[in-house]
Each structure stands twice: as structure tokens, then as C-alpha cells.
């Protein structure tokens, strides 16, 4: 029988809704940091939204940034303490709507930080409003008849925005299957390795379910990612060791 081993960084049970993907992503990040021996020298930057629930349960040094500004805060830390492992943990509303500029410019300057951007296609904490990543036709509290892409634009593909930039590492993973979770762990490890080797900016986007605001149960949330979300947001590695690769 295999031993159930919880990373020491997870100091309390998480506070996310049942079926939420954040708990899995938290666990994967914690495992990677511990396996790489970086837990004692890591500083995380998060802002608001569901991500901020981590501040009490994920036992790394944290700074809580204003909404959207986590990348700028992370840059401030990394520039003065280059020996630290510095990462942002943000939702899609935070990093891609209000924080689009800070997120993009950290990549444009190829800042030596890691961004973990959770794409669940919704503003979760505020009760399910439309996000930049909401799918066409997706019903949210601010698109009750379904997202009209003619009026509100197409879902924002952050990987496409970044893949032509001279950055260190870029990938998109998911938490919708055991296979995906194992791959996600590999991506996050590669991203942190890139940073600690001075390889420049690294970003991993993670497709994650929000059953509460998608008004789905856990199983349909997972099949929704597999059958629909992945078509619009393909998973895989896009930039590795500073070289653009085919996913």
C-alpha cells in the first residue's frame, strides 16, 4: 500500500469549494517546490479572488498584491532577491483582465519569475461573472444568455499572446485527468527550473474546473474541460529553454 504523503507546505486543508481545481494545483506546486528543495526560499505573490484563500493554507512567504498587480509585485521581489524562487499564483480575471498589462510586461521584459495562471473561465470569488477566458455561449451572471463573442470578443488565449516573445518557458496544462495532472507537475517543475537557472520568464496556464459557478457537478465539469475547453485552449508545451516548440 502506498503511503499518503502530504507536502509540508500545505499547512492546513484548503478552503476551496468541492470539486474546485485549485486544491490539486496547490498540491502540485507544493510538491514541486519541496522536491526541488526550494520551500524555504520561495516567495509567492497573489492578489484577490479564490487564489487568496491560499495565504493561510500554503505555508510559503506571501505578498498579497492589489487586484491584477501580482506580477509587478513579484518583479519587485525577484529583482532585489534573485536567490529566491518567486512565483505568482493568479486566476484568469486577475491576470488576464485587470492585470493583463502587468502579466504581459513581466513576459515582455523576460523577468525571471514564474507565473501560474489558473484558467477556469469565470470570476469565481465574486460569484461567476464573465472572464476574458469565458467560452462563446457560456452563461455567466454577466452574460446570462451566453457569451456573445461578437459583442464581448473571443476568449483570450494568453499562451498565444506570449508564445512569440523571447521568454524561457510556456505551457498549458489541465487537472482533468491523472495523466494531465502528472504532465502539469512536469510543466510546473520545468517552469521553476527555468527561473532558478536564470532562464527568464516562465508561465504555466492551468485549465481548471469551477463546478460552483459553471453550475455543473464534478464529473460534468471534468468532461466539459476534456470535450470543450481543451478545443479552445490546447494543452502542451509551447516554449522550452527559450525556444518555441510545436505543442
Amino acid at each position: 500500500m502506498s503511503e499518503k504523503r502530504i507536502p509540508k507546505l500545505l499547512v492546513e486543508p484548503n478552503k476551496f469549494c468541492p470539486g474546485c481545481g485549485h486544491g490539486i494545483i496547490n498540491r502540485v506546486v507544493a510538491e514541486v517546490l519541496e522536491e526541488m528543495g526550494l520551500a524555504e526560499q520561495t516567495v509567492g505573490s497573489l492578489a484577490v479572488g479564490c487564489a487568496c484563500l491560499m495565504m493561510d493554507t500554503f505555508g510559503a512567504d506571501w505578498i498579497q498584491a492589489p487586484h491584477g498587480r501580482a506580477a509587478a509585485v513579484a518583479v519587485g521581489v525577484k529583482r532585489v532577491r534573485p536567490e529566491c524562487c518567486v512565483f505568482t499564483y493568479q486566476g484568469d480575471g486577475d491576470s488576464m483582465a485587470i492585470g493583463f498589462s502587468e502579466t504581459m510586461y513581466a513576459a515582455i521584459r523576460n523577468e525571471n519569475i514564474t507565473a501560474i495562471l489558473v484558467n477556469n473561465g469565470i470570476f469565481g470569488m465574486t460569484g461567476g461573472q464573465m472572464a476574458p477566458t469565458s467560452l462563446p455561449g457560456q452563461r455567466t451572471t454577466t452574460s446570462p444568455k451566453g457569451r456573445d463573442a461578437e459583442l464581448t470578443g473571443q476568449p483570450l488565449n494568453m499562451v498565444n499572446q506570449m508564445k512569440q516573445l523571447p521568454i524561457g518557458y510556456l505551457a498549458r496544462g489541465a487537472v482533468s485527468s491523472a495523466k494531465d495532472i502528472n504532465k502539469l507537475k512536469k510543466y510546473i517543475k520545468s517552469a521553476i527550473e527555468t527561473q532558478m537557472n536564470g532562464g527568464g520568464y516562465s508561465m504555466v496556464e492551468v485549465l481548471s474546473p469551477c463546478p460552483t459557478n459553471w453550475k455543473m457537478n464534478m464529473e460534468t465539469s471534468i468532461s466539459h474541460i476534456e470535450n470543450t475547453v481543451k478545443d479552445i485552449f490546447p494543452v502542451g508545451e509551447f516554449v522550452k529553454n527559450g525556444e518555441r516548440i510545436d505543442a
Binding site: V11, L38, A39, E40, Q41, T42, V43, S45, M55, D56, G59, A60, D61, W62, I63, Q64, A65, P66, R69, A72, V73, A74, V75, G76, V77, K78, R79, V80, R81, C84, C85, S101, E102, Y105, I108, R109
Partner: protein, 348 residues
Amino acid sequence: MSRKLMKGNDALAEAAVRAGCRFFGGYPITPQSEILEYLSWRLPEVDGTFVQAESELSGVNMVYGAAAAGFRAMTSSSGPGYSLLQEGISYIASAELPAVFVNVQRYGSGLGDIFQAQSDYWQATRGGGHGDYRMLVFAPASAQESVDLIALAFDKADEYRNPTMILSDASIAQMMEPVALPEMHEHDPNADWAVRGKQGGEFKRVTSTMYYIDDFDTYIKNKYDTMAENEQRWESVQVEDADLILVAYGISSRICKEAVESARSQGIKLGLLRPITLWPFPVKAFAEINPEVKAFLSVELSSLPKMEEDVKLACGMKAPVETFLGGANIPESSAIVERAVSILKEQR
């Protein structure tokens, strides 16, 4: 100590480096850009970091990160750009971190214009950003005072774990004057609260301290009350026997000093009270003035009276408080004397 001819902005920037500042994240805007330009080459010379940010929003949050990591950090801006810093400053105050902010004031609301002015008095002294916080606001009246006050601003930011502010203006910042610079000061970034990974200890959370302090309302009020009590700074010129006291800071106070001298030579008893801290406003200075003073005249470079309110509160309205508004134009000292004489005539 030898003196050097320097532009106000450059002198302030060099003094910041000598005060131990090792991080600047900022964005160009006239009339503060020389601070940005100077630090772009000077900080790397001392192993410091300069980042030209994509916006003031980003710059202030880089300062937040560097300050949280324990380093002396600052940014500077002017009018419209300073408005964009306010969100981040509120967060830094709420997290009780030291950092220094400089507003080289320009004229007007909206885009306004790049002329010298003192339009941002309310923004500086009333909090600016959202919520319950205050900043110590220092108002230099010369290049030398820019040098002296930026060092004090860093020290006081550390002492109170609170952001502090220099409220300068385009004249003080752009003119060249001789300055004596202090020796280089090295700052230890490894305070026990600084984030750098938990390093074997407990993990640290930099966020609003209200989440972790018992009876926070009392605690935070006491903090700002202590600052208000202990940090009032001012300069008084011939206020003990003055019939009319001019109140002015920054570039306006330079003209007012000349006005006092010129009036006194004509037998008109003017005095000057020059606040060096705008918050806390130097209420204590009013205890030392002529108890028979007939009027106060607040001299401000703006289109609306602003500091006038603080003068009224500080003097308890024991004498009338008038305002001389220069707009974007620095007045002649003779115009101030003329106005003072006319006010005194009305008081007879």
C-alpha cells in the same frame, strides 16, 4: 563639507541613493523625469535596481514587492501619474511597509500642465488612496532641503513602518542650487519581517495587517496619533511680533520670505510660518506666534484654496484667514506685501 551645484531632482535622486535606496520602479512624467533618468544609471553603480515600468500602476507595485523584501525602495511621479500610484500606496500603508513616494507637483486637474504648482495638497495630506491611512508629507523649499528630507523620509518610513512622501514642485525640482550631500548609508534589508522565503522559520504573510492585529482600530489610530504628535516640523520667521502671518510651503515660501524682508524694511510687521511637514500640519507652531496677530494669509500656487483649511483649524479662527492664490504663476513678493497691507487695513 564641499558643496556641488545640482538640479533639485538630481540632488534628491542622489540623496535617495545615499540614504540606502536600492530600488526604483517608475514611469516618465514632466517635471519629475530627471529623478527617473538619474536613477537609471546611478542605481546600477551601487548594485541597486532600476526598472522603467510600463505604468505607474506597475511601478508602485514593484516598489511594494521590493519594500516587502526589506529593501529601501521608492518611486516618483507628478500629478496625473501620482494619482495612479494611490492604489498601491494604500496597499503598502495597509501592509505597514516602509517606502518613499515623491510628487513633483504640476498644475491643474486632469492633464493640467507642466508648470510649477501646489495643486495636490489635498491628495497628499488627506490620504489620497482608499481607506484609513496617513503619510508623513515633507515639503522641501530648496534643493538642499530635498536632500535632507529624502533621507529623513526613509528613516521615518522605517521608524513607523509606513510610506512617507515628499511633496515638491516643478520650481524646487528644476532649479539648480548648491547642495551638500551626506555620506553613503548602507541599509540592512534583512529585517525579521522581510520576505525572502521562510528560511527555516514561520512563513510570513504581507497583506493588510488588520487581519492579524487585535483591536486594530485602536492600534492604527494610536499609530497615526503618535505621528501627528511627534513629527510636526516647521520654520518660523519673525512670527513673535507679526501683525500678519504668511503661511506657505515649498516654492511659495521662498517668495514669502522675501516678502517678509521687504515689508519689514517698510515698517510693516509680516511674519512667515513655513510648514516643513504638511501632514502632520505643524499646529504646534501656532503656539509661538504673536497672540495679537491680526490675520493669516495662506499663499498657495493653485486655483482653489487648500492649505487654508489647515491654517483655519490650526489657529482656531482666532484671526481671519485669507488666501493668496497664484494659480500656476509664482507671484512677485511685492504683490504679496500689497495684499497683506490691504488685509491689515480691513482689520483696523
